[in-house]
């Protein structure tokens, strides 16, 4: 009986989810859920649920994953036992094991500088090298090293149509998909990533009720306190950091079409209402919910229509501004993006049967959009004559575009500063072969040491 109630609730949420996210035919979405009514209970067939439970048991704690605690204090790191000094090999073969004397002299903290430069996946793999390497996330000196490495490309945290419960993360530098399990995210609700800052991702459940913040890399997780509203209407969300890292705190803001808004401050762990929307911002605020909010320094930018343009909110001063900017013609599925302080617009331009992805840049002096780039023609041809929908995941310098028609889902990344278009390999779960359809997601700068 309880299962039926939960199932109904889920279907209700799912219908909303379909409206928000995708043009996927409903049957394809419902299939995995309806055929597994036991999804809500503890013995299920679905592989991902199995994985979740099996490593919950391995971790031995409920609701969060921890490294197994050693039963005795970790031994001091052991170097190789004394061996007779050999001559150093003169070959240029880079895979030779190291000479012992190098080893004895090599201070441990010099490793940290090397490890901080490893790709994220490698870092996680090498946590099993020894206890010392595993505990690096807790080391301040390591965090310092990480902070000094220039920011790489952002990663993408996405939700797939096939498995709405766990994310698929894309690493554009290695062109690899990873499927981590964030065990602390609620599994009985569908939660969607809506914003990110400083390596933390903010999730909102599909009923627009509760916020969650987590770092997908180190499982640091928090459910935010409840908001002071009783009507759960559609909202747009933005996130900013107070300083240069999340240790200085962060803020999350939601705004609704009626002009209501609230700001969450992580340092005080509470929501406040800084004021009301000024009269310069026309209400109702017809927000473009497909477009994620931009963050440039401490200001959030939201796209609106009627009138067409952008509204901005400065998290520090609390000031709202409205900019009237006409949207280019024949444009659909448009979203805002930013790169180095420049505000961009990405959208589908459809003329007759031809569809193309176009990029515009905002001319700040004239408040007009100017076309600056287009997806290569040869890729656009694939969509000729087809009804295409586009979702833009991420809006910080590197964009992932999910282009969907009835039969296919093409994924492309666009680098705003280098103007490079790259194809994204299909997202396939481990031990699977079928490509997953990407529903929605956000980009985040991977930060091993950010905590909620």
């Amino acid at each position: 009986m309880e299962e039926l109630v939960m199932l109904r609730q889920l279907i209700g949420q799912l219908q909303e989810y379909v409206q928000v996210c995708g043009s996927q035919p409903l049957q394809q979405l419902q299939f995995p859920l309806l055929n597994q009514p036991r999804w809500c209970s503890s013995n299920v067939d679905d592989n991902s649920i199995d994985d979740y439970y099996s490593f919950m048991m391995a971790a031995g704690k409920s609701g969060s994953v921890r490294i197994l605690e050693p039963s005795k204090p970790p031994p001091s790191k052991r170097y190789h036992k004394e061996r007779t000094r050999g001559k150093s090999s003169g070959t240029t073969n880079a895979t030779e094991p190291l000479e012992q004397h190098i080893w004895k002299d090599f201070p441990e903290d010099l490793y940290e500088a090397v490890i901080a430069r490893l790709p994220i996946a490698t870092f996680f793999r090498f946590r099993s090298v020894c206890r010392r390497w595993n505990s690096l996330l807790d080391s301040e000196s390591f965090a310092q090293h990480c902070a000094e490495i220039p920011q790489a490309n952002p990663w993408f945290y996405t939700i797939t149509h096939e498995n709405v419960n766990s994310g698929a993360m894309y690493d554009p530098s290695l062109k690899k998909w990873h499927h981590p399990m964030i065990s602390s995210l609620p599994t009985k609700l569908i939660v969607l990533p809506v914003a990110s800052a400083g390596g933390l991702v903010c999730f909102l459940d599909i009923g627009n009720r509760n916020f969650y913040v987590c770092n997908p890399l180190n499982q640091s997780f928090k459910e935010l306190p409840a908001r002071s509203v009783t009507v759960w209407s559609h909202i747009a969300v933005g996130m900013t950091m107070n300083g240069s890292s999340t240790s200085g705190g962060y803020k999350i803001m939601w705004v609704g079409c009626d002009g209501e808004y609230e700001v969450y401050d992580s340092l005080r762990n509470s929501w406040t209402r800084p004021g009301s929307m000024p009269s310069s911002v026309k209400l109702p605020l017809s927000l473009n919910f497909r477009s994620q909010a931009l963050t440039i320094d401490s200001t959030l930018y939201f796209m609106r229509s009627d009138p067409e343009g952008i509204v901005s909110y400065d998290m520090v001063t609390g000031v709202w501004k409205q900019f009237i900017i006409p949207t280019p013609l024949h444009l659909t599925d448009h979203t805002l993006a930013e790169c180095g302080g420049r505000i961009m617009l990405v959208g589908l331009l459809s003329k007759n049967a031809a569809t193309c992805v176009c990029i515009w840049e905002l001319q700040k002096m004239t408040l007009l959009w100017k076309e600056v780039d287009r997806m290569p023609n040869i890729w656009c041809l694939e969509f000729y004559g087809k009804h295409v929908r586009m979702t833009c995941l991420g809006n910080k310098g590197l964009l992932m575009l999910s282009l969907r028609s009835r039969q296919m889902n093409r994924l492309v990344t666009y680098n705003v500063s280098s103007r490079e278009w790259l194809k994204v390999p299909g997202c396939v779960v481990p031990h699977g072969r079928k490509r997953q359809w990407i529903a929605c997601g956000t980009s985040f700068y991977p930060c091993l040491t950010a905590v909620v």
Binding site: A59, L68, H80, E99, Q100, F106, A121, S128, R131, K176
Partner: protein, 176 residues
């Protein structure tokens, strides 16, 4: 020679004495790339003609560090001028450590760390990181001579937890 005569010389040089008692004379601008040397001489105070001992650095490493700094000093301003300069600097970084064994790089890291040569240290650290980035856990243990202090159960649990990170790893080279 008196100090006054020294300062009349055209090129200012700094003398460094290595662990194997070799004395190197470097141009001052190259020597000042070494944070330790810069701190030693300070803005004033210690006269520049005084020889600075660097007992933790062998002449072999110092020669290489001087080589890097000289080339780097030449390329860096060009890189700030135009795209071609940037490209040349990137190429320099890519090629400079190609022929060195990982062991040699570790020796250089020790020396560069002691002398506080940050640009070279960044390159050395990144080179090692790049070389091991696709390797297995066993390979890294062997390379650095680390013995695992995990129990087999703990190690298994870690591998399961981070299973996603273990995909697509290079095969270890065959045992000798």
């Amino acid at each position: 020679m008196s100090t006054e005569e020294d300062t009349v010389q055209e090129k200012k040089t700094i003398s460094l004495k290595t662990s194997d008692d070799e004395v190197f004379e470097l141009e001052e601008n190259v020597a000042m790339e070494f944070g330790t040397v810069k701190a030693f001489f300070g803005d004033d105070g210690v006269p520049r003609d005084m020889m600075m001992p660097i007992p933790n650095v062998h002449s072999k490493e110092l020669t290489r560090i001087i080589d890097f700094c000289t080339k780097h000093l030449d390329l860096k301003p060009k890189a700030e001028l135009d795209e071609a300069g940037k490209k040349e600097l990137r190429k320099f970084y890519k090629e400079y450590m190609k022929e060195d064994t990982t062991e040699r790089i570790m020796e250089l890291i020790l020396a560069a760390d002691y002398l506080n040569v940050n640009d070279f240290l960044d390159l050395l650290n990144q080179t090692v990181a790049d070389r091991i980035s696709n390797k297995s856990v066993e390979y890294v243990r062997k390379l650095f001579g680390i013995e695992s202090d995990y129990t087999p159960e703990e190690e298994e649990a870690l591998r399961e937890q981070y299973a996603w990170a273990f995909e697509g790893v290079d095969e270890d080279p065959a045992e000798d």
